[in-house]
């Protein structure tokens, strides 16, 4: 049976845990803990180690979905979790802070992994903040030398959105094989 691993990364509250939960066929494993410090103002829980979910395919193979903790004090988990992964999904909250700066930061933090695999960007909370636009994101990607990358508006609570983003990143890895 084959196993594939996709990693979800991005800042606190972007929706990584929510997205893994939405796409997973099994009850996800979460390591949420009550948030302390400044995160608490944002939401009651935060991921401290990882999220885990899985999409089961008919032939028994599995796509494993891993959510990373957003807080930088847990960034040692990022490298551990990307080990053996085939793609990165970066979720950015459009409604908080400076989203493009967050994008730059996470592209930088995962650049080694992205260059070996592929990345797709899900811009969340667009219902709360329409700007920056998706083309602002693409321009930032161009500037950082990543070229044309799937950038979708995503509501992390919607399975359809998350699945489309997964489909996009798989199509980038190998459009020909996905026949």
């Amino acid at each position: 049976m084959s196993h594939y691993k996709i990693i979800f990364a991005g800042p606190v509250g972007a929706g990584k845990t929510t997205a893994v939960t939405a796409a997973s066929d099994i009850p996800p494993v979460r390591t949420d803990a009550a948030a302390s410090d400044e995160v608490r103002e944002l939401k009651p829980n935060t991921t401290v180690a990882m999220d885990y979910g899985a999409m089961k395919l008919a032939d028994g193979s599995t796509i494993h979905l891993y959510g990373t903790p957003g807080q930088q004090r847990f960034d040692f988990m990022w490298e551990i979790l990307t080990e053996g992964g085939i793609a990165l999904i970066l979720l950015i909250d459009n409604s908080r802070g400076d989203p493009l700066k967050e994008l730059r930061f996470y592209l930088g933090a995962f650049s080694g992994f992205i260059r070996k695999t592929a990345v797709a960007i899900g811009v969340t909370h667009v219902d709360l903040a329409a700007a920056p636009s998706l083309s602002d994101y693409q321009q930032e990607l161009d500037r950082a030398g990543f070229g044309c990358v799937p950038v979708f508006e995503v509501d992390a609570r919607a399975r359809r959105d998350v699945c489309l983003l997964i489909e996009a990143v798989l199509s980038v890895i190998d459009p020909v094989a996905s026949a």
């Binding site: 594939y4 592929a118 489309l164 798989l170 996905s178």
Partner: protein, 411 residues
């Protein structure tokens, strides 16, 4: 005694070939005057077995394609949502229950003047006859078989077919043509300017100039309000009516004008949608699998940014086409052959991306080879990524497609 009734035309989906065989035997016990198997497009009623991975999606897909059609749904599980046009029958399905479901479906049909049934005159109440057959068919067992499925009943394949049929709205049905035959090749082009698409482009450009929203009217009144400043469009027609308007050249029947204060009352009653999503749909409807006239097949396609495919209609194979183009260096001809898909899929997607300004063609074909080398260096090339991935997509497709169709149907 019942009055003469037309024969119900029934199509079915979701059954593997063994269940299908059983079903046909089963149907032979139902009076042929009551119901006859027909193909999907001609059916009055559909019978859908949803007890497989993708059953629900087949159901929702069918509902999308035929919103007004009664559906008889067989399942072992609990009843479904409260859709007045959906008639659940619990498995094992017995004759009496099936006949009752047919009768219920018949009552749900609009009282349109239906084609005369061949034996209508002699009809003496077919369903009563069916009811009188003892309800002890072996079909119960047959319906519940768990033998391995035959390949041709693969639900993923069914789902793909379903997606393909749904997508004819967006990519038309034009067969591939010989791209080296200059005369045949004429068929792959259309002139956006001659369609609603062109009218919208002009109206949007004008709205930007005058900083005011614009209106598009045809003989039956206002069809659209366009406001590029807020990025919104208001649709004053049903989607079906708008598609009809967008598919044919307008031949001067459509005109634009600026929105006046008097429009406000009407506009308040309409729901807005992103202008971009309207432009995308209208381009696909006009293109019907063709390219804007003058588009070269040999110059490499450059995708500047991906269309926002979570919020736009996803035409077939859009993901793979965009995936290929984001590597850079592939022209339209190569795209068709590399992906092994119908030309119309590629051309429709190109036309829609073009309408949103997301693609352009590289200046000359010589850039092709160079661009490819660069793209290999930037992104892991197919050769490196492919081996462990091969087949993954095929397997995951059902799931992803399911999520797509499923929520499109729900929403």
């Amino acid at each position: 005694m019942m009055t003469a009734q037309p024969t119900l035309r029934l199509c079915h989906t979701g059954m593997d070939s063994r269940s299908l065989y059983a079903f046909e035997i089963f149907l032979s016990r139902v009076d042929s005057r009551a119901c006859q198997i027909t193909d999907e497009t001609a059916a009055d009623v559909a019978f859908i077995d949803i007890d497989n991975d993708l059953g629900r999606y087949l159901l929702e897909g069918h509902r999308l394609l035929y919103p007004g059609r009664p559906l008889i749904v067989s399942t072992q599980k609990a009843p479904l949502d409260n859709d007045p046009l959906t008639i659940p029958v619990t498995k094992p399905v017995g004759l009496a229950a099936f006949s009752a479901a047919l009768e219920q479906a018949r009552r749900l049909l609009p009282p349109a003047p239906v084609v005369e049934a061949p034996l209508a005159a002699a009809d003496t109440g077919s369903l009563e006859d069916a009811d009188s057959i003892p309800d002890e068919m072996p079909v119960e067992m047959l319906f519940n078989r768990t033998e391995p499925r035959l390949a041709n009943a693969d639900p993923v394949a069914l789902l793909r077919q379903l997606e393909e049929r749904l997508s004819t709205f967006y990519v038309g049905s034009m067969p591939d043509v010989d791209l080296d035959d200059l005369i045949a090749r004429n068929a792959i082009y259309y002139t956006p300017d001659q369609f609603l698409q062109g009218e919208i482009t002009r109206a949007v450009a004008h709205a930007r100039e005058i900083h005011r929203p614009m209106r598009i009217d045809d003989a039956s009144g206002t069809a659209l309000y366009l406001d590029p400043q807020s990025g919104k469009a208001l649709q004053a027609r049903s989607t079906n009516a708008l598609r009809a308007l967008a598919q044919l050249p307008t031949r001067g029947t459509v005109k634009m004008s600026r929105v006046e204060p008097g429009d406000a009352v009407r506009m308040d009653t309409l729901e807005s949608r992103p202008l971009e999503a309207l432009e995308w749909d209208v381009a696909l409807w006009a293109s019907r699998g063709r390219l804007p006239r003058g588009t070269s097949l040999d110059h490499p396609v450059r995708l500047h940014s991906w269309p926002n495919l979570t919020r736009l209609a996803v035409p077939p194979e859009a993901m793979r086409i965009a995936g290929l183009w984001s590597r850079g260096g592939y022209n339209l001809r190569d795209t068709v052959s590399m992906l092994g898909i119908p030309q119309r899929y590629v051309f429709a997607f190109y036309s829609a991306c073009h309408a949103l300004g997301l693609v352009e063609l590289a200046a000359n074909p010589a850039a092709l080879a160079a661009a490819r080398i660069v793209s290999r260096q930037v992104v892991a090339g197919p050769a490196e990524a492919a081996p462990p991935m091969r087949g993954l997509f095929k397997r995951i497709l059902g799931k992803l497609l399911g999520a797509r169709l499923g929520e499109a149907a729900a929403g």
